[in-house]
Structures are given as C-alpha cells and as structure tokens.
C-alpha cells in the first residue's frame, strides 16, 4: 500500500478544563473516501480544524506527504492543497459564479479585471465537474444545491490533494445528493483523499471506503465500510445499542384544526391545505421549493400577499409571529442557532422567554420561584440535559438546544407546532428523543407539521405528506402512497416542466 498523504500522530488538544481530543492518530490515503463519524462533541470539528490550520494542537505531529508540518495555518493548508467544503455556503451572493470561484485571484489586464478570461477559466472548472452553470450568473439566483457545487468548483480551481467535506449534504435534497456523490467518485478516481463528515449514516455506506469513529474526544476505531454496518457504527458512536427507527403511532383523524386557502407570499403561490387534530403532516420538496416559506407564511414571519388562514374553523389574521403565537401556531425554525435559541442566554431565559409576561406580577416583575418551577417542569418533561438553569444555551448540544425551543412553545399553549428540519445536525440518540416527543404531542391532539430534507425521516414521521416545488403545492400523499420514489417523482418532475 502506498504511503499516506496526510498523517496525524498522537494529536491532543486541550482547552482549559476540557480534553477536546485525546491522543488521536489517523492517516488518510490518496483516492480514498474516509468518513469520520461521532456524536456532537465527539471531537470531529476539533480534529478537522487542526488539519485545516484553524487551530493548533496542544501536542502531536502532522505529516503531509511524509513531511512534518510545524507551522500549519489556514493559508498554509490551502497552499499544501488541503481544502474544506463546509455545510454553510460561504459565497458572495451578489457576485457572479466566476468571480466567486476566482475571488481575490483575478486575472488583470492593465490593473483591471479581465472578466472574459475569468469566465472562460470558471467554465473549464465547472465543465470538469460536469456542472451546467453559467459562470456569469449571480450566485444568489442559484438554488442552495447549485451553490454548494460552486463551492466545490471554487476549491477545485486550486490544486487539491485533500478535500474535507463537513456535512456537505446537510442542505441538499436527494437529487442534489446524487450529484454530489458523482463528484466525490470523480475526485476519488483522480487520487484526491477525501475526508467525509456526515450525520447521515446511509451516505457513508453509499460513498465511503473507510470510516473512523470518534467518541468524547477519543479515537475509537477505523474500519472498512464494507466490513461494518449501520448498527455497529451507531453502537460505537454512542456506546449503547440504538436503532435508528421511527416510532410508529396509530392516527385517529380528528377535527380540522388548521386550514389555509390560497396562501401567497413573495416565495410561494396559491398554497392550500388542511391539517387535523393529532395529525402529523409532512412537507417534502427540494430546498427552496417553498416548504419553509409556507411554514413562515402561516407563522407570520413572511408577509402574506393574499390568502386566508383558519384555526378551528375561525378566520384569523396573522401579520406577525406575535399574532400566530396568540392563535396557537408556533414554529421551531430550521436555523436553530440564528433563529431558534439565544446562544448567549441561559437555559432559564430561553425557556421562559415568550412565557415571561404570564409569570410577572402586577409590577411587571417576574417571579423567580414560578420561573424556576416552570423551567424545571419543561426540563424534566423534555429531559433536557443541562448542569443548571443558568447554563448558557450555546454550551448545550444541538438536540438539547432544540428542546429549549420546544419547551418555550409548550408553555405557550399551542395547538399547531411546525418543526422545520427538527433533527438537522443532531446526533442519533437525540434524534430518537425528538421523534418520541413529536409523537407524544400528536397523541395529545396537537397538529404536528414536519419539514425535512431527510426523506426516511419525513416518511417515517408523517401520516400525510404534501410535496412542494417552485413555491407551489404539487401533490399530496397519504398512507401507502408515501414512498421515497413517489415523493422524488413529484418534487422533481414538475421542476422540469417549469424549466
């Protein structure tokens, strides 16, 4: 076997009071897709940051093509040919595709940028990827999936020897995912070493050659993907038996709770549907198809241009989230960190944030006692893991942060709960808990609306699924009709017609 292109020896990273990585040794080879898995907080990010030079290890050595790197930095890593694709898009939305790909490396003629040359070069890179994007198009006019491809093109416009993909699939729908996999395969054939990080274990079996498991800052083991299976991986990750399954419940269709008619906003057109007591209603579609936007319209987060919303048969006017909450509609937003929790506020503050006026006395002062009682109740009900009520939300894991948002809403006496990507970036164990909670709520007669890019999750958790595309409702599937194929068909077929 040839020598590794990248080798890490005895890497330890200490933060004051925390061992983030404990004596990890690992090597990566050319033309190999190497997955790294672990629950949140297992040390994956720290490990990646050390490779990319974003942080420096406390002890241990880093070898690239056999030579030790002692002065690693983001700049140095790029020069060596180590690039990273992050789950968030880091492109300039207001610049063209070509400008983004060659940002700050423009060809100039008499000190002016030679745009023609730039676009030709960009086109070459895009063609190499097999992507059909016009280089002069503005990035903001592309879908998230295509933007992700531009990111990849950007990194391939330099010499790449090691490519790190950090949750590249988090924002992609299944179609776009296939595309991504094709690219990964092509890169592998070209001899690039790929480090692949994902919470979606299925992907690892589809695309990776090797998989390394991390747990609590420790390196556990590396295996050939062919010689392991999902349940073994999960067991190694969480150190306990767990099945990734979707708890099933029997639905008794109750009265109609929510009805929306011809909802139209800047992003969606003429969306109509109803939801019933205790129902779990799923929304499928590609990113940007109008799933999230429909939720935001009902919740009053986007401005309604036309359309009507009925709750319990009564027409309601919703102009803001404030109005929606009063009518019993709540939203758990897709971007937990920016829209869901206050990262720098305590667990207590996050839970009672919206409820606070109700536990204030006549002078408007919040009763500390009531506040703590209320919080403790939610913490035990949702089994939120936190050392204390005063812990900052940012120190909790993704799953527990999500529970904070849920706890905030359960206090508000809501009937309709919209979950937008409820388990994105959440580890396996926490996912199960979230599913369990969703089912409990539905059994208690709440309407659960689920938006998810993970089809198995959506299918497993929904009684009925509405498929969206290009801002319109395309179809509705129920019972046995709900299959992955059928959903994909609906979500993508119309797309072609529209184009």
């Amino acid at each position: 076997m040839d020598s590794p292109i990248l080798e890490l020896k005895n890497i330890t990273k200490l933060y004051p009071g925390v061992v983030a990585l404990d004596n990890v040794s690992l090597c990566f080879r050319k033309g190999e897709v190497h997955a790294i898995v672990g629950e949140n907080g297992a040390g994956k990010s720290t490990f990646i940051k050390i490779i990319t030079g974003a942080i420096k290890q406390t002890s241990g050595q880093l070898f690239f093509e056999g030579k030790e790197i002692t002065d690693n930095s983001p700049q140095k890593a790029i020069e060596l040919g180590i690039t990273t694709i992050y789950q968030e898009i880091n492109l300039f939305q207001n610049l063209s595709v070509a400008e983004n790909i060659y940002y700050n490396r423009y060809d100039t003629k008499y000190g002016l940028i030679n745009f023609k040359e730039l676009e030709i070069k960009a086109k070459t890179v895009l063609d190499k990827l097999g992507v059909d994007i016009n280089p002069s198009e503005l990035v903001k006019s592309l879908t998230v999936g295509y933007q992700q491809l531009v990111e990849i093109a950007k990194s391939l416009s330099r010499t790449v020897k090691v490519m790190i993909m950090d949750e590249p699939s988090a924002c992609l729908t299944n179609n776009e995912l296939k595309y991504l996999f094709d690219i990964v395969k092509r890169l592998r054939e070209e001899g690039v070493a790929i480090i692949y990080i994902s919470h979606r274990l299925e992907e690892i079996f589809q695309i990776c050659d090797k998989v390394s498991v991390f747990r609590d800052g420790h390196y556990i083991k590396t295996m050939d993907v062919a010689e392991t299976n999902k349940s073994e991986l999960i067991r190694l990750m969480v150190n306990r038996e767990l099945t990734e399954s979707y708890p099933c419940i029997q639905l008794q269709k109750g009265e109609k709770v929510l009805e929306v008619k011809n909802l139209t906003t800047e992003f969606i057109k003429d969306v109509s549907f109803s939801a019933y007591k205790g129902e779990r209603l799923g929304f499928a579609g590609l990113v940007g198809s109008g799933r999230t936007e429909t939720a935001r319209a009902i919740f009053g987060a986007d401005k309604l241009l036309s359309g009507e919303i009925y709750v319990h048969g009564k027409k309601v006017n919703i102009y803001s989230p404030e109005d929606a909450i009063k009518k019993g509609i709540v939203l758990i937003p897709e971007d937990r960190k920016k829209q869901g929790v206050f990262l720098y506020r305590s667990v207590r503050d996050n839970i009672v944030f919206s409820y606070a006026p109700k536990i204030a006395n006549l002078l408007g002062i919040i009763s500390k006692k009531k506040e703590c009682t209320v919080c403790d109740e939610q913490i035990s009900k949702l089994s939120i893991k936190t050392p204390s009520l005063e812990q900052l939300a940012r120190n909790l894991s993704g799953g527990n942060q999500q529970k904070l948002v849920l706890g905030k809403w359960l206090l508000m006496n809501c009937d309709i709960i919209i979950f937008d990507e409820p388990t994105r970036g959440i580890d396996v164990g926490a996912k199960q808990e979230i599913y369990q909670l969703m089912n409990e709520l539905s059994e208690n007669g709440k309407v659960i609306i689920i938006i998810s890019s993970e089809l198995p999750e959506l299918i497993g958790m929904s009684d009925r699924i509405i498929v969206m595309s290009e801002g319109r409702k395309i179809g509705e599937l129920e019972g046995r009709d709900i299959t992955q194929e059928r959903i994909l068909e609906l979500a993508s077929e119309t797309r072609r017609i529209v184009k």
Binding site: P321, P333, K338, F342, F353, A356
Partner: protein, 328 residues
Amino acid sequence: MITETKKSERIAINKYNFDWSSTGIIMALIVMCIIFSVTTKSFLSPNNFANISRQISIVGICAVGMTMVILTGGIDLSIGSLIGLTSVTAATMMSNEFPIWIAVLLTLLLGVAVGALNAAIINIFKVPPIITTLGTMISLRGVVYIITGGMPIYGLPEKFKVLGQGSIGIIPISVIIMVIVFVFGYVLLNKTPFGRRIYGIGGSQETARLSGVNIQKEIYKLYMLVGFLGAVAGMILMSRVNSGQPSAGDGYEMDIITAVVLGGVSVSGGEGKLSKVIIGVIFMGVLANGMMMLNINEYWQRVVKGVVLLLAVIIDIRSRERKSVVKA
C-alpha cells in the same frame, strides 16, 4: 432533574479562569484612586467625593438608558444634544415663570418625544440607530442654539437649585436620583419581560421576532425611556449650573458610551450587566476629576479618555476571544 454531567465539571473548572474584563476595571479603578490620592492633596477629601458623585450623576443616569440601547445592538448619539435641549427648554419655561411642576412635566414629555422620534426613524425608515441619532444629535443642537440665540438663560427659580445642588445629609440629591435610576434599570433589565426582550433582541433579533417579540414596539419603548432619562439629566445639569447653557451636554454622549463600554457591555449587543456599568461610570468620573486636580490640560484629557475607551474595547474583545476558545 438536574443531571450531573461531565459538562458541569468543565464549567466548574472554567470558573477559576481569571475574567479580566470584570476584575480588570476594578483593579484599574483602585490603582487610579491610589495614584490620585498620592499625587494630589484634596482627592481624598469628603468634599471631593461629593463633587465626583455630583459629576457622575448625569452620566450615570444616562448610562442606564444607553446600556439598554447598546444591549439591543443600537446606540444613541443624540443623548448629549437632548441634555442640552431639555436643559434650555426647562430653563426658558422656568425663567418665564411657568409653575415648576408644569415645566418639569413638559420637559420630561419633550425628552420622551425626542426618543419616540428616534425610534420612529429607526422603525419606519429602517435607518440604522447610529445614523438616526447622529442626525438628531446635530439637528437638536441646532435647535438649542436657535432657542437660546447662543446665549445662556438665567433667572431660574431659587427653589429649583435643590435638584442639582442640594443634598439630603451628605448625599447630593442628584446622586440619590442616579441610584434610584440604577435600581429601576436593574430591576427592569433583570426582572421583567421587557428586560428579557432587550437581551433577546441584542442576542439575535430574528430569534426574538420568531419568539413573538414585536421588535418595533420594544424599540419605541426603549428610546422613549432613554429620552426620559436624558430629560432628567438635562434638568439636573441646568439646576447645577443654575442656568440653561446652549452648550450643555455637549460631548456627553461620548462619556456615556465610554462608561457603558468600560462596564463590559458588548457593542455588538446582547451581553453586558448594568451592575458593572456603574463601575464604568465611577471610573470615568474619577478619571476626569483626578486629571482636573492634577491640572492636566483639557486637550490631554481628551487624549486620555479616547485611549481609555479603546483599551476597554480591546480588553473586552480579548476576554471574549478567550471565552470562545474555551467553548469551541
């Protein structure tokens, strides 16, 4: 229900890390006091303490409002001009023999109205607070000069001197007002839903909005409160100098902002404590007083104040970086 996890142990260890942002300013204050008491004769006299406390009361009262504004990620540059405006309007009314209570009431209303104007421009036209209040700061100062014709207004009622010059026992009345305002502000920020919303808006405006906060309403309330406090400060200043000075409050916004930042309030919003801001206020007061006693010329005083502001921000950023590294 509270589970002892590994995390709690981690936090406990972090507690022992020295937090320079809070202790640094107290140490600096103590060192400064020692230097001034050694180098000047009268720094330690009770008289001088009364003096300092009178001087800081105006900045202190406004700092409470400014803290809240900065916590939301905003800023109010117009506060100095508002002090000037309320100071000369109150003086004009009183010298024209308006009953004192009517003059006080109208002045407070004027302050609230100016705050509402700032909020309206921010809310309706989406002008960032720094630009909005820069505009009103310049305009209001113009209004002050128009009202006074550039001349001080004298002939104030004898009784009104009590506000800025009187004291109960040895404690100046203005200081008592400042303490009341601080307690009020502390309760408001830490014990009421309004305070939670202020911190929430600064932490993440979008999260706050999606949690059902009417952001615009809160901005109105907030800037109106700042206007009210500005009017209180304006009248105290007027009473202390026993006249309505057209230049009253000029440049105060910078002292106020510096005091708030020294108190560890993050200019990007969402983080900071009123209890620390009071130390920032005292720091600024002692610094100004000591430099005056040392006869340091006014130009140099400006240089020092600017450097202090920058140092405060640098320490704030450094300590934040260190914290974020710990959590990464």
